[in-house]
Symmetry: C2
Subunit: 267 residues, 2 copies
Amino acid sequence: MRFTFLGRRSRGDTKVKTLIIKFQFDGTDFVGWQMQPGQRSLQGELTKAFELKTGIEYKIIAAGRTDTGVHGISQIATIKIDDFRIPEEKIVPAINTVLPNDIQLLDAQIIDEDYNARFDAISREYNYYITSDYSVFKRRYFAHYKEKLDINLMNEAALSIIGNHDFTTYSKVNNDLNHYGCKLEICQWLQINETDIKLHIKSNRFVYSMVRSLVGTMVDIGSGKLEIDYLKNSLLKKDRSLCSTIAPANGLFFEKAYFNSEYRILK
Amino acid sequence: MRFTFLGRRSRGDTKVKTLIIKFQFDGTDFVGWQMQPGQRSLQGELTKAFELKTGIEYKIIAAGRTDTGVHGISQIATIKIDDFRIPEEKIVPAINTVLPNDIQLLDAQIIDEDYNARFDAISREYNYYITSDYSVFKRRYFAHYKEKLDINLMNEAALSIIGNHDFTTYSKVNNDLNHYGCKLEICQWLQINETDIKLHIKSNRFVYSMVRSLVGTMVDIGSGKLEIDYLKNSLLKKDRSLCSTIAPANGLFFEKAYFNSEYRILK
């Protein structure tokens, strides 16, 4: 485990512990993960809830930093603690009483080492939902495309980008990153029912707007606007101008982060 | 059909026509059907949309007047018109462009007679959804009860009130009504999956808060707080003080109104 020894302070000091939380959120009314002044962010609401219950303003680190409008089925975050005033088994109900009802803790565990959800996650998984049937009950959770989409064409394109690639073409600029290389493990469209489809995608890492950028181009392939080999060819060119319209955020769900760990909460 | 002859004006006058609309809505952010100053109502939003597109403030009458937070899968409303400036087949897309995205037209039809969704509906159907598994994605559309509910007990109670009864016990006071008699045709709980159940209920009419009042008492029966025969006995007593806690609005869906009619839109 990273930092296992480095993270523990020398004899006499309090040992470093980590509180790991698992949570879900309906992203519709959030500006995304990152705390921003005057905005309603996931990190902000969580920080406020923990502060209300403990009196301490903790720094909370998520396994994936989602954008405005993106949802989370099972997100993991870590909080470095010395000591924590709420007993482990009471954390979920206590924090949920002060969280707004579009974000809720599912689980919490305290471990005796330093752990970082962002750096220790080994891969992430998303689903992207598309419907051809607009309904007020789907509007928050599905992107709506009127065009008839050929899921077989979309799957051929999806299959062509599995593996290690530089995703510059399908990423926004991010100066914090050294490189745009990602190892795509799963990229597959599935038919849910007559009107609804979803993309299941898993990678060791995702660069900014990567899923929504890939979806936008695959939708253009499914509707016949672009050829199947457009996706693979444009990827190899590492040229952002080749990316089609970015798909809307409301169809995107952060499904799960994977860790190489024996801790219950991280499985 | 009621008013078929009375409704047509005498020779020389413009004939009375009716625009019938079918629509769906996510009731979470509405105060319910009825227009109220300074409030966001379904009738208000529809009236505004029709006025924006036609310049005329029409009176819109719904087959069922839902409460704050109650949803609609397929609601019917009628609008008395002489003449209508949007061609019939363009009404749905035109009005939808100016409606907010939590209410949408599904269909529209113009008929050559006077028709009233409220008085001409012969029965109404609702579903009420309950989950034992709280999730941010269910919070808008399911009532959450932690207690273990015995659906068999609830169904025995439900069955006991089928038929013609005075529903005073399970209604709020409404001075506009002459009587609280309703003929319950269907009242049945169904298991959807391990954590979710729904009540399917159909009646010629529903009095104020009737479904939510019945659900509240049936939940108390399902959790063992009340005996099975409590529902039937309390109904016969016509005493409002015997009604248990009213179930929350978010689980209630107006499913459909029934009409004795050959018009496509009313089937």
